[in-house]
Symmetry: C2
Subunit: 356 residues, 2 copies
């Protein structure tokens, strides 16, 4: 197989963890005779420093000419005081829009060997296996107006939550498709008792559900979902929701297992390329220290192999290698537990590499 991959390390620990994941990708390429042609490009604060914008046109072009994209993380305090359009996270928002990445998939799985790191009690967290499907290119993130204004003669500001029906429909369909390959339950999260967009969302979810009689659809209000994720996360299979609710709930879900440093995500468009990245951020406080956990990025690579290239066997090999390394007790410090062995970023990458 011959594939072009755009690699966007970004800021903070981004370069370190991406280097590790690239190494694993290359090992897979060598062992199974795939050509992975990598093109590196800038995004985030480092891009602003070099070019004045967090998402240079060159990066967009490179991404569009690729079969898949691997992203590290963006952001850091040194860019916090820049004008909005130059800040690192604008690079993220723009790449989502430029590539039409409308569905963000964030699985949360409880690794048995790491359950001890969870803030939740064992009986609540063990066996959790859910995925949040977050709408990523619509809603209040992109609606206009979003500006300072005058309201009833007084200074104020406004943001706009807007959705076209078709934007709602396609992401809910995606959620149902995914549920079919899992436990066949979709929880659609909205605030239909307050928002008109949510009432439309709920109607469309009901319509889509008719096409998937084998999948169970349940509606849940966002405030209740925030509670249920803590009380009984095992009740969930696929959660689908709009952009802002998805931002909040997927981050909430990501800390349940206590191993945020293990969680990968993918962002899908209609025709590709898809984007893969760890859920965690750029952790500027530990950047360059060779202590960051590379596993979420390595698992993002295995997601890429599976979803973008249908290389299921190769993906499974990476996942197994990660599991083996965990079972041997190797841990970066974010997932440390009693009786485990602390390893550095590069040591962790090496261990996984050996298992492959």
């Amino acid at each position: 197989m011959n594939k072009r991959i755009a690699v966007l390390p970004g800021d903070g620990i981004g370069p370190e963890i991406v280097a590790g994941a690239v190494k694993i990708l290359q090992t897979i390429g060598t062992l199974y005779s795939h050509q992975f042609e990598l093109t590196f490009a800038d995004i985030g604060g480092c891009a602003t420093d070099k070019t004045g914008t967090p998402l240079p046109n060159e990066t967009i072009t490179i991404c569009k000419n690729s079969d898949a994209i691997l992203l590290g993380a963006v952001g850091g305090p040194q860019w916090d005081s820049l004008p909005v359009e130059k800040r690192p996270e604008q690079g993220l928002l723009k790449i989502r829009k430029a590539l039409n990445l409308f569905a963000n998939l964030r699985p949360t799985t409880c690794y048995e060997s790491l359950a001890v790191a969870s803030p939740l009690k064992k009986d609540i967290i063990e066996g959790v296996d859910l995925i949040v499907v977050r709408e990523l290119t619509g809603g209040i993130y992109f609606g206009t107006p979003s500006e300072r204004t005058v309201i009833d003669g007084k200074p104020g500001a406004v943001d706009t939550l807007q959705y076209k029906n078709e934007e709602i429909e396609r992401v809910i369909e995606k959620a149902f498709e995914i549920a079919r390959t899992r436990s066949k339950k979709v929880t659609s999260v909205d605030k239909a008792n307050v928002l008109e967009t949510s009432r439309v969302w709920r109607e469309i979810a009901n319509q889509v559900a008719e096409k998937y009689p084998d999948v169970l659809l349940e509606h849940m209000l966002v405030d209740n979902a925030a509670m249920q994720l803590i009380r009984n996360p095992k009740q969930f299979d696929v959660i689908v929701t709009e952009n802002m609710f998805g931002d909040i709930l997927s981050d909430e879900a990501s800390v349940l297992t206590g191993s945020l440093g293990m969680l990968a995500s993918s962002s899908l468009s209609e025709a590709g390329p898809y984007l893969y990245e760890p859920i965690h951020g750029s952790a500027p406080d530990i950047a360059g220290e060779n202590i960051a956990n590379p596993l979420a990025t390595i698992l993002s690579v295995s997601m890429m192999l599976r979803l973008s290239f249908q290389l299921d066997k190769e993906a499974a090999i990476i996942e197994e290698a990660v599991n083996n390394v965990l079972n041997k007790g190797y841990r970066t410090r974010d997932i440390l537990s009693p009786n485990s062995t602390i390893v550095s970023t590069t040591e962790m990458v090496e261990s996984v590499n050996k298992e492959i």
Copy 2:
């Protein structure tokens, strides 16, 4: 002391738990020679059934003529298919607006005797004592347009998140005032990396902070706040945020301790009357069975005595009585733990009453 109190039992378990709280209020009145003049009024589904609207004008008038308001809970499945404006929760939204209840205070305290019921591990939850101050009369709950519309020639819908600067300022000031009486830390939660209203929110928080040099202000993004509440809830003292974020985060916070049935809330306006209610809902599934937990409503009464009537001693007596009853091992089934004694709603009320 002579005070008029509007009592709005509402739907589901509302009438039972309010009856219990009223009993405690009357005991306090008798023992300490206060006249509490109670006027009952309808809100929610029962009001729609009787009058066609979930908040009859008569109820608004009664509330406006009171010194404080005690509310049970509203809602139930039998009203779910009514047109929006007749649904029970519209009664809530309308009373907030009619009485200008702009600041919703939701404390989450970990009762030592109940910590075992928490979904979180003991070391994370023990000692938690935070309060969410939620803006309650603005934001996306009340902004216009909120309607179906056409976007780029396609059917869609829109909601509007809008704030006047003065609405932001007054609720943040309230949070700082409250922090002064507590551990002197305010965490202002926003999504300033995406929303213009949040950027204004952050600026105003910084301005207000200058007037309270004794209080520490920290900013936190809403997605991070959703994580931090689970990872390390002890870091928080006062959290202040806009309406929708407050809805989600205060519900999330309310399940941390595992004793939602214990949590009271108050909603404050500039000139009063204030409204007091339990945080939990109307629990239609257990309505009428005499098993609901009346303690959150009883504690709402003690909040009322303290905040609206400055009856600190009487408030403390109720809180002590509740603590004593818990220490004796009496529990309604929602907070059941090993070696405790199950009691009914009325038995729980009786136990608290005896302690007073």
